[in-house]
């Protein structure tokens, strides 16, 4: 290996200059911010840490935009190796970046939403103890997220993957003097370890069978090495998907995300809604070729996505806390993205990823400004709120726009992306997925407007003391809200089917090969009449959801009482607003507990007992062994002599 010449060649190629060659600056900006804030934040920079971090993010955004512009202009992916990262003999793994259209989309989402949220956080975190610590971890998160999306091989991606996880735990446990936060951090850590185990194993298997873990090599060699539908590729992709379910909070590893809301709200918005949790979606989209070679894995991905979308949406019905509802909503929307990936509509999944980042960040930040008004940092009970539209008009407007967007009403962003996923599912012949998705769409509209109504409509139900302190958030907080709300409105217009399909055209080179492999079903897409009627249907469903929510929580607040008098059998259900919650508790949770108990029983009887016996044996051996260590010099000398004799015998005989 030439000593570090890789670095030099990377920067002095004879190729013509490309703006995307500056991509290394993208993670460098936030890295510098982390370093400065971490070293000097506590004593020197103090309350400027927030501004410093935001400016660094802005720098990353500008460079990202240059890169994206370059990619859009030339259409050529950019692959660069900076230095040999790990090298043993003939195993050489360079550390490098890969920028193509998919990366460009992710870069835009991360840097743009990141910048806006950093700006918001300056206001939101103001006056918090450890302000500088927050603005040390946040840019670090950005660095790791950039590594994740830029890495040109799975190990580099994995570094980012672990890095964002680490920052996530640090930031969930930000209020580490509080027990629930520390616990939530721990829960996230443990659940993600299970996922990472799958990821690592998948990566190892891939290396073992393909001989490389670089994306360019994977694209080049995978179709030759793995016959479509072979066992090995199915196992690899399923293992990698297990990693994705951990990071992106899908069944069965979703449980950590609602608890992760213990972190500060900008963290929830950036990490647990807009960027980190989408890493699983990105990873599968990046490896689209592998997945399209494994139809069974794709089916699993789609099924898990569909079920998660529906399940999380129904759970969101009955939650009392604003951020918790949004967390379940995030899980549900991520489910949509996996559903899209599962039916082979990778571009639709990425499209939804982008629009979701806009409106979900906006929703979270709005919730954050409600929390701000309540002087809370954990969460707010929506039954103790209400009528906030009078006190916080900007927040309400932003929330309303993004809620309409997520519900899927045209011309807001969510409509275009969600409807496309549903249409792709239908067109691909996955009618069941489509049905589940449509039901989930109804649920989404319902719980979102339940949340909106209980927060902003009606009269304030909190204490008088709270009411007097209600106020609109400062400019530095509502300005980001406005930007995100604007994007929630127009963000979907980059891909209007038939009229302006720019987004898909942009992404086409990335997924072309996979689409070819995945199936011929896309021919149905020509049937415009289907597309329009399905779109109308889903809009209708969404409107029904909204209407039902408004009916229950605004127009007819006495509706439950009327139910109670007319249908005594339903009285209990309406009296206890948590009937579904309790049903869920009784069936799912109890069932889960019984399953757990059963598992635990097996565990205790067989595995633990076996392990204990083994551990006891080891411990026993260890105890006996250490008794050899008598403390007498002559015994030690004897041991040495035995060793010498052994060596002499070994060498001379």
């Amino acid at each position: 290996m030439e000593n570090g010449q890789g670095i030099i060649t990377a920067f002095s190629t004879a190729e013509p200059f490309r703006w995307v060659g500056l991509v290394w600056l993208v993670p460098l900006f936030p890295a510098a911010a982390t370093l400065l804030n971490g070293l000097l934040g506590r004593k020197v920079i103090r309350y400027r840490t927030g501004q410093l971090a935001t400016v660094a993010m802005l720098g990353a955004l500008i460079v990202s935009l240059l890169c994206i512009w370059d990619i859009a202009r030339t259409g050529q992916p950019y692959n660069v190796d900076y230095f040999i990262w790990i090298g043993v003999g003939d195993f050489q793994l360079p550390f490098g970046f890969y920028v193509d259209q998919l990366t460009a989309v992710m870069l835009f989402v991360v840097s743009f939403v990141g910048t806006v949220i950093f700006l918001y956080a300056i206001g939101y975190m103001h006056g918090h103890p450890g302000y500088w610590r927050f603005f040390t971890y946040m840019p670090l998160f950005a660095v790791m997220m950039f590594l994740l999306v830029l890495g040109n091989s799975l190990p580099v991606l994995f570094v980012g993957w672990e890095g964002v996880g680490l920052c996530s735990y640090l930031l969930i446990g930000y209020f580490f003097d509080r027990d629930y936060a520390a616990q939530a951090g721990r829960k996230a850590f443990i659940v993600n370890r299970i996922g990472d185990f799958g990821f690592l194993l998948g990566m190892l298997l891939l290396y073992w069978t393909l001989g490389s873990v670089r994306f360019t090599d994977i694209v080049e060699h995978a179709p030759d090495i793995y016959p479509a539908g072979s066992v090995m590729i199915t196992v690899i992709t399923l293992l990698l998907f297990l990693g994705a379910t951990g990071k992106s909070a899908q069944i069965p590893l979703f449980v950590w995300l609602p608890d992760a809301m213990a972190g500060p709200t900008p963290v929830s918005a950036l990490i647990h809604a807009a960027t980190m949790v989408t890493a699983g979606v990105y990873m599968i989209a990046r490896l689209n070729l592998l997945y399209s070679l494994a139809p069974i894995s794709l089916l699993v991905v789609g099924t898990v996505g569909a079920l998660t979308a529906l399940m999380a949406a129904t759970i969101a019905f009955t939650q009392r806390e604003a951020k918790r509802i949004l967390a379940y909503s995030t899980i549900s929307q991520l489910g949509y993205m996996f559903l899209a990936l599962g039916v082979g509509a990778f571009d639709a999944g990425i499209f939804h990823l982008m629009t979701h980042a806009f409106f979900k960040a906006c929703l979270f930040l709005s919730a954050g400004s409600v929390l701000h008004a309540f002087h809370e940092d954990r969460d707010v009970d929506i039954f103790q709120a209400g009528g906030l539209r009078r006190y916080m008009p900007m927040t309400r407007l932003a929330f309303l726009v993004s809620a309409v967007a997520i519900a899927g009403i045209p011309p807001f962003a969510g409509f275009f992306s969600k409807d496309e996923i549903l249409f792709e599912a239908f067109a691909g012949g996955y009618i069941l997925f489509w049905g589940i998705g449509l039901t989930a769409a109804f649920c989404t509209a319902f719980y979102m407007f339940r949340l909106y109504s209980l927060l902003f409509s009606g009269e304030f139900r909190g204490t008088e003391h709270q009411r007097r302190h209600l106020h609109e958030c400062p400019f530095i907080m509502w300005f980001p809200l406005v930007i995100l709300a604007l994007l929630s409105l127009v963000g979907g217009w980059v891909n209007i089917p038939g009229l302006f399909p720019k987004f898909h055209a942009f992404l086409r080179p990335v997924f072309a090969e996979a689409h070819e492999l995945a199936g011929p079903h896309r021919e149905l897409a020509g049937a415009r009449i289907w597309e329009i009627s399905l779109a109308l249907l889903s809009v209708l469903v969404a409107l029904t959801g909204i209407f039902a929510a408004r009916l229950c929580y605004v127009q007819l607040p006495k509706l439950p009482h009327w139910f109670a008098e007319t249908f005594p059998s339903l009285f209990i259900a309406s009296l206890h607003k948590y009937w579904i919650d309790e049903a869920y508790q009784a069936t799912v949770v109890k069932g889960f507990y019984s399953a757990c108990r059963l598992a635990q029983w097996c565990d205790n009887r067989i595995i633990v007992a076996g392990l204990n016996a083994f551990a006891a044996l080891i411990r026993h051996l260890s105890e006996i062994g250490t008794q050899l260590q008598t403390g007498y010099v002559r015994h030690y000398a004897l041991a040495i002599v035995i060793g010498v004799v052994f060596l002499l015998i070994g060498m001379l005989l």
């Binding site: 003999g89 060793g643 052994f646 070994g650």
Partner: protein
């Protein structure tokens, strides 16, 4: 043959050693004249000497100096850097540690520097004479350092055991050297290799040479604490002042491996067929015994002592691989091992005004001193081989090297015992983070140099863990 034409320019070949010796002399002078009570002067001089020596190691030109007694090649330069780094970190930890006991005297630093010079001479030796000289310089300094706490019964006992057993092992080593000299008629490594390759058979017979080599292997086996030559390790590590323990565990062990590589891999590459099988068993035993015995320890230094034995076993496995990758893995692991081991012993040194000797005493450290608990966790995770830390790549290369040389079984045992080691490493983390301390203790104010040492060691662990190639590139240049 003109052995008396001493090349005057040879001086530049021993520049690092000279600089360190000079620093040692200056400290002694300072001690005599100025009365350096708190050891600040000695610390500054040591640090200056070590840094200058470190810079001087980059002047390696591959030449043999002083009538071929020493060689100044890439291998010795690389090893010098390991020794100097270990000594540097240990020096930084030592001053606050000693000041805490009111013993921050200059002679401690003098001995530490001289021990380092001994290691460097050993790493650069091309002759039995210099190798023996280096070994003794290292050992004699360490014997005294182990007994540095004159009032402390444990320190005295540790020094005694270390001395007697060390001298015993040296006896075997010298006896072995005598026979190898007898067989080949020279004490110079290059001349020995030349004699053998020229086809002249050993005098009077091959067994004479093998007898000698076996005894040398045993003598060096003591230094690298190979089972069953390891018996002194737990007692000495526990009794010696903790920074001294750190130096014994890292520098001294690295010097032992340096000598092994020089003699058995470079001078007598053909001898492998004779010692390979016996050494296989010793490496196996070392990995098992080290990890197994560490499990039930209640004292932290004793636990790390056994852990260090186990790590010696992993290194021995790499040495046994005698392949290109294996030997590079050995060098890489020496770097990684130095950072993490000095790190853990540094934390143990500085964890409290009264040293925390029991593992249970680490309960609640995360609350009392989050910094110490955090770096300690990092070092422990690295020892356990967690990805992202130096230990991960260290083990990765070791096992890769072993597998490549066909030692699949040994690598498997290595991996299994590594898994066993999670238990005792993670136990300390559990104590630090999940148990409350029963009696809060007076925290030792973490003085600047101690903190610097731990930060540097942690940075080393992380940098090697993220960018192993930074070191790997300079290792590639060695062979």
């Amino acid at each position: 043959m003109n052995n008396f034409a001493v090349p005057i320019l040879g001086i530049q070949g021993i520049m690092p050693e000279l600089l360190l010796s000079l620093a040692a002399v200056l400290i002694l002078l300072l001690e005599m004249t100025a009365g350096d009570r708190e050891g600040h002067g000695a610390l500054s001089l040591s640090v200056a000497g070590l840094i200058l020596a470190f810079i001087a190691t980059f002047g390696a030109d591959g030449k043999q100096v002083f009538s071929s007694l020493l060689v100044n090649d890439n291998l010795s330069a690389l090893l010098d850097r390991v020794f100097l780094m270990a000594a540097f970190l240990v020096t930084l930890v030592s001053r606050p540690y000693l000041a805490n006991y009111g013993l921050a005297k200059g002679e401690f630093f003098v001995l530490l520097l001289l021990a380092t010079v001994g290691m460097m001479v050993m790493g650069a030796a091309m002759d039995f004479i210099t190798m023996f000289l280096g070994l003794e310089m290292l050992s004699l300094s360490l014997y005294v350092l182990a007994g540095f706490f004159k009032k402390d019964v444990l320190s005295g006992e540790a020094a005694f055991k270390y001395f007697i057993l060390g001298a015993f092992a040296t006896g075997f080593l010298v006896f072995g050297m005598a026979f190898v000299f007898g067989a080949l008629g020279t004490t110079n490594f290059a001349a020995m290799a030349h004699t053998l390759s020229a086809g002249s058979p050993p005098f009077p017979s091959v067994p004479t040479l093998l007898f000698g080599l076996a005894l040398i292997l045993a003598g060096l086996g003591f230094k690298i604490s190979l089972v069953p030559f390891h018996t002194w390790v737990p007692d000495v590590y526990t009794g010696a002042p903790t920074p001294v323990t750190a130096l014994i565990a890292t520098g001294s062990k690295a010097a032992g491996f340096a000598a092994l590589v020089r003699i058995f891999m470079i001078t007598f590459p053909g001898s492998f067929q004779f010692w390979g099988a016996a050494f296989w068993w010793l490496a196996l035993l070392t990995m098992i015994v080290g990890n197994l015995f560490a499990l039930v320890q209640v004292e932290i230094k004793r636990m790390f002592a056994y852990s260090s034995v186990a790590n010696g076993g992993y290194l021995a496995m790499a040495f046994l691989s005698h392949s290109d990758v294996g030997i590079k893995a050995l060098l890489f692991y020496l770097f990684a091992y130095t950072f993490m081991t000095v790190g853990v012993f540094g934390v143990v040194s500085l964890a409290g005004r009264r040293e925390r000797l029991l593992i249970s005493e680490y309960a609640g450290l995360s609350r009392e001193n989050p910094f110490l608990a955090a770096v300690m966790s990092l070092f422990l995770l690295s020892l356990a081989g967690m990805p992202g830390t130096a230990g991960f790549f260290g083990k990765f290369y070791l096992f890769a090297g072993a597998v490549r040389s066909g030692y699949l079984g040994l690598a498997l045992v290595g991996i299994l015992t590594t898994i066993l080691s999670f238990y005792y490493y993670l136990r300390v983390i559990v104590y630090m983070y999940m148990r409350e301390s029963e009696m809060p203790r007076e925290a030792l104010e973490l003085a600047g140099s101690g903190r610097t040492a731990l930060v540097l060691a942690a940075a080393g662990v992380l940098i090697l863990g993220c960018f192993p190639n930074l070191i790997w590139i300079s290792i590639e240049q060695v062979f």
